[in-house]
Symmetry: C2
Subunit: 244 residues, 2 copies
């Protein structure tokens, strides 16, 4: 059996997230159905599910197959068959033991905001429109409080059976490019809705509703009600998943 | 009465072109309906209609109104009300005599092609996927034959009552950026489907189906059957309209 690692990009708009659910169009089901005719049935093991409406620039999954197609042939055949809102960016044979979920060391997410008065029709599915001007310097200062190892329970939508809400954030960036604001965060793992809760919190700081110091208070509260609203899914991108 | 010039951007995917047609969603009707509640009824005079599926980065129209809203207020109010696939980029008071159609001196169109094996899910509505690798140097050489004043009848879909098919192309560019190929053409005016017929012709050259010299032959033929196929609308953008 071969073990193949895939890098996948998708526009999350018209998917009910990654994970298979009977009666809903999901990324996993769309991919597995397309694989079936090319390689026989496969089961994709993903780095982590993404929610309804969340996009991916570099999602990673692996699967076992007895197919003899080269990775390049697989990539071409899959892309020729898949619907246009999902694409295979690459495929590679990896050691038998590689597990896209368990072996993921870090994930990088990007949240895209626009705060100018003029919308962008061509990117309308790929950003969140803020009705307020946002002070990016304050957002950046506030975000720095999240760096390092913390209990992020305040930024977690309740999720049963989660063992721990301690995670380590290794990088945060908040940058403005004209009317675009990009918030990027990299960590060893994320809790349910964590990036969107942080984005909603930073927007509250950016519009002056909360002081920069509020983010530290929220962390210490360990209570989801202390943080800002969950920002809409359409601004969120899984950018990359890093392995050793 | 004020005369106001608008710069407009739209994703053409879900519009049946610019011009009003009963029972179809068009850009003109969408805009005029939105104006009605803000300024009273207006009639938009556009630089030129665009077809079903064609996009605009900088379409221009003007209209007469007795509204007292400042241009900035108009832009904000319109963008807050319009559907997200059309945006007003700017508004400005112009002299009474300004006519967006009659006074247009040049238009710049861009045709976007991708020729790599990996599609881009996020731009899938905004380019044409070529199944063949395209030689951009040959396409550029071929395109240069179009520069200047010519009868472009070979690149025109039949259109009744057109007085003349002589136009002057002032600029052509063909450039590759990775798997993206951008063909840009600026002229004092365009015939029906002209940019798409040129794009289809240049793609025939780029894939090696025709020699570079074919474009000159096609021009001289003055016969639409001599040129390449009309390339799909989704790769075509009206970039800007220039006035004196």
């Amino acid at each position: 059996m071969r073990n193949i690692k895939l890098t996948i990009s998708y526009d999350g708009t018209d998917f009910f997230g990654w994970q298979k659910q009977p009666g809903f169009r999901t990324v996993q089901e769309t991919l597995e159905n397309t694989f079936e005719s090319l390689t026989g049935p496969v089961r994709l093991n993903v780095s982590g599910r993404t929610d309804t409406g969340v996009h991916a620039l570099g999602q990673v999954a692996n699967f076992y197959t007895e197919s003899s197609h080269s990775p390049d042939v697989l990539v071409r055949a899959l892309n020729a068959t898949l619907p246009t809102d999902v694409a295979i960016l690459g495929a590679a044979d990896v050691p038998q033991a590689f597990d896209a979920n368990r072996d993921a060391k870090r994930k990088l997410y990007r949240y895209v905001i626009r705060d100018g008065p003029i919308p962008d029709p061509f990117r309308r599915r790929y950003y969140h429109q803020s009705r307020h001007y946002l002070d990016v310097d304050k957002m950046r200062q506030a975000a720095l409080a999240l760096l390092g190892r913390h209990d992020f329970h305040s930024f977690e939508t309740e999720w049963p059976n989660r063992m721990s809400s301690v995670r380590t954030i290794t990088r945060v960036r908040v940058n403005r490019f004209g009317d675009w604001i990009l918030f990027e965060v990299e960590a060893d793992g994320f809790l349910y809705n964590m990036v969107r809760a942080i984005a909603g919190t930073l927007m509250n700081v950016g519009r002056g509703y909360w002081p920069v110091s509020e983010v530290g208070e929220i962390l210490h509260a360990e209570d989801r009600r202390a943080a800002g609203p969950t920002a809409p899914a359409q601004g969120l991108f899984l950018v990359r998943v890093s392995y050793e």
